[in-house]
């Protein structure tokens, strides 16, 4: 194992796949000369040149669409968005074109494209820079959605995403790029898309959390351990396809579940998991499933309001206490 920052794990994945396959290229705002807004692409321009590491104008719709056309015509683009908050401008290409062109033409078109970049909030950036989009994109058929929490997952899953012949959204976090973690040094390290991971084994309650929220859940679990509550944390890693069996198996053991999600509550990941658990594990539940999400409110700027807005360990602990009837 090697200790790498999140951004280094991402860079290694891109670098390895670019070295392996000439058709892979990366484009986006500031990816080349600037070495990446968050340095995820540092050094790639020097190594691969301007043909394969391409700075774009600030035209999300335009360059996402050029990526879609290039993917249709045989290339394997990695389209970087400076944040998925800006990818809203490119939503027509992702939702109407990348996910649908193959189906509408009766399978004549394949779409090997990765859209990647940071997702969700990153501190006091105001309402338009703070939305978690993984649930929204997972709503649409034809897209695969990944939002990882640790460098090792990021490396293995990004390599899979780049090799996938379907459109994949790969989500990161501004606040996690500098986070260090052990990353497998296995040659050609691949994690299959759609496989979750038990990140912490426990017997009292299952907490499902992915992306940045995994770390909130982890913090809560450490606190709860002191109180004698043994939390199992499942990180689905891939939002869609979802590793539902892993979650259900865990609930069969713990009989209680809290879902922690960085999206707003309505029709989000937590809502979906809640529905699936009642359908698949109804007889195993000793308490109603609880969720910790953002409120149905835009991201505020003021520090105190922002802190109240973003799910934290305390909210997770409260939810765990609720499902274990400890309050």
């Amino acid at each position: 194992m090697a200790e790498l920052q999140f951004r280094e794990a991402i860079r290694e994945a891109i670098d390895e796949e670019m070295a392996r396959e000439e058709k892979v290229f990366i484009m986006g705002e500031e990816v080349a000369e600037y070495n990446g807004a968050y340095k995820a692409t540092e050094g790639l321009l020097d190594k691969y040149g301007y043909k394969r590491v391409i700075d774009t104008p600030i035209s999300e719709l335009g360059f996402a669409g050029i990526g879609v056309g290039a993917a249709m015509n045989g290339l394997r683009p990695i389209v970087e968005f400076m944040t998925f908050n800006f990818a809203v401008l490119a939503a027509d290409q992702i939702i109407n074109h990348a996910s649908k062109a193959g189906y509408m033409t009766g399978g004549q078109i394949s779409m090997p494209i990765v859209f990647r970049g940071p997702n969700a909030s990153a501190g006091q950036l105001g309402a338009t820079h703070s939305v978690a989009y993984d649930s929204m994109y997972a709503h649409f058929p034809g897209l695969k959605v990944i939002y990882t929490s640790e460098p090792d997952d990021a490396k293995g899953l990004l390599k899979s995403a780049i090799r996938d012949d379907n459109p994949v959204l790969f989500m990161e976090s501004e606040q996690m790029y500098g986070m260090k973690g052990e990353v497998s040094e296995e040659e050609d390290y691949i994690i299959p898309i759609g496989k979750g991971k038990i990140k912490r084994e426990g017997s009292d309650v299952t907490v499902v959390a992915h992306g940045k929220m995994y770390h909130v859940a982890k913090q809560a679990a450490a606190q709860l351990e002191k109180d004698g509550v043994d939390v199992e944390i499942i990180d689905p890693r891939t939002v869609k396809p979802l590793d539902l069996p892993l979650i259900v198996e865990s609930i069969k053991k713990t009989n209680r579940c809290v879902v922690v999600d960085e999206a707003h509550p309505f029709a989000g990941f937590a809502a979906e998991i809640g529905f699936l658990i009642q359908r698949e594990a109804f007889d195993y539940l000793d308490a109603p499933v609880q969720r910790v999400t953002l409120p149905d409110v835009n991201a505020p700027f003021a520090k105190n309001l922002f802190d109240a807005w973003l799910p934290d360990a305390k909210q997770v602990i409260d939810a765990v206490n609720q499902v274990t009837y400890r309050n």
Binding site: F25, K51, I54, T56, P57, S59, L61, G62, F63, A64, G65, I66, G67, V68, G69, A70, A71, M72, N73, G74, L75, D92, Q93, N96, H97, A101, G102, Y103, M104, T105, G106, G107, Q108, I109, S110, P141, G142, D165, N166, G194, K240, P241, L242
Partner: protein
């Protein structure tokens, strides 16, 4: 300073606002057609016969499709290309067969011209499994990628960046191919066009972008929805451009021959405003109150098919009976296509889940 009267303000779209007797002029001004004859354009007599057959096929295919639609044989939208056939035909004859073509939802003519058979096309309209897109796309989504026809797309302007992407891949692979992206005049106001034009010239993409300006974006006259002439969109992005008479197949062919050569050699994008006229409504449910019958008749006098027919007769390339022979052959082909579509099966129910992903057993959430 005198206050403005309240009624001075209105937001009625004026566009380029060229007025005559107080009314905004509608339709399009057709530039003069080329004076060149087929030989100096490099077209053989066989080419002309094939062009005539192709244009007549596009026309009759759609006229029959319209009948079938009215009989309730299929549903959905039906946007007819009738009147614009010289553009698809002149272009396809001018480009190389492996150049990449992509268009909007008025796509039947383009598909037929790029090798979708009348059977495959009609069956697609009927939503049958034998259709070019296996009944998954319908009227707006004809495609035949093996012939480098990437399809019709239903979001106005949404395929313009994709056309740029086709060219990007061609340049990346240095395969000598160019892309040609067609769209209607309504699409020129979309941000997708502007972003793509900027990037296309920034990255020197070997791409032709061509607006088929048929005078109306649905019911809004081009002259009411766009400031400046459409062709001038190119100026802002330093792109070369020209206006072409789209009612004359020779003019389209000549322009496409020249422009494709230049784009291929220079690897620089080019914008064409091809002026034309659609005879039918925007779709089948359009009462066409935004234009006069007289206006339509004026353009029909420039009908591209009649024009080529007159040329063939005047130049003694074909006799009346030989033309009739072509027409009868096409008529039969189209009638056979209707029968084929009618007799074909709808897709199997399992096909609902096919073609979503490339895996043999993909994941479907439920």
């Amino acid at each position: 300073m005198a206050k403005k009267k309240k009624d001075d303000i209105n937001f009625a779209p004026r566009g380029i606002g060229d007025e005559k007797d107080g009314a905004v002029q509608k339709g399009v001004d057709l530039p003069n057609p080329t004076k060149k004859k087929h030989k100096s354009l490099g077209l053989s007599e066989d080419d002309l016969k094939a062009m005539y057959e192709q244009m007549y096929l596009q026309r009759r295919f759609e006229e029959r499709a319209m009948q079938q639609y009215q009989k309730g044989k299929f549903g959905g939208f039906l946007h007819l290309y009738i009147g614009q056939e010289a553009i698809s035909t002149g272009t396809v004859f001018a480009l190389n067969d492996d150049d990449d073509i992509i268009t909007a939802y008025r796509d039947h003519g383009w598909g037929l011209c790029r090798g979708i058979t009348a059977n495959e096309g009609m069956a697609e309209l009927f939503g049958k499994k034998t259709g070019c897109s296996k009944g998954k796309g319908g009227s707006m989504h004809f495609a035949k990628t093996e012939n480098h026809f990437w399809g019709g797309y239903g979001i106005v302007g949404g395929h313009i960046p994709i056309g740029g992407g086709l060219a990007f891949a061609n340049k990346y692979n240095q395969n000598g191919r160019i892309s040609a992206t067609f769209f209607g005049d309504g699409a020129v106001d979309q941000g997708a066009l502007h972003e793509t034009f900027n990037i296309a010239n920034l990255w020197k993409l070997p791409a032709i972008f061509a607006v088929e300006n048929n005078g109306y974006s649905m019911g809004t006259a081009a002259r009411r929805h766009t400031v400046t002439e459409i062709v001038d969109r190119a100026k802002a992005y330093g792109m070369k451009s020209k206006v072409v008479n789209g009612m004359d197949v020779f003019s389209v062919y000549e322009a496409m021959k020249e422009v494709s050569k230049e784009v291929r050699e220079s690897s620089e994008p080019y914008f064409l405003e091809i002026r034309t006229y659609r005879y039918r409504g925007h779709s089948m449910s359009d009462p066409q109150k935004y234009r006069t019958k007289e206006e339509l008749e004026t353009y029909q006098k420039n009908d591209p098919i009649e024009r080529l027919k007159s040329y063939l007769l005047d130049e003694k390339i074909l006799k009346e009976d030989e033309i009739q022979e072509i027409e009868e052959k096409v008529e039969q082909e189209v009638l056979d296509a209707v029968e084929f579509a009618d007799n074909s099966d709808f897709p199997d129910e399992e096909a609902l889940y096919d073609d979503m992903f490339t895996e043999d057993e993909p994941y479907f959430h439920n």
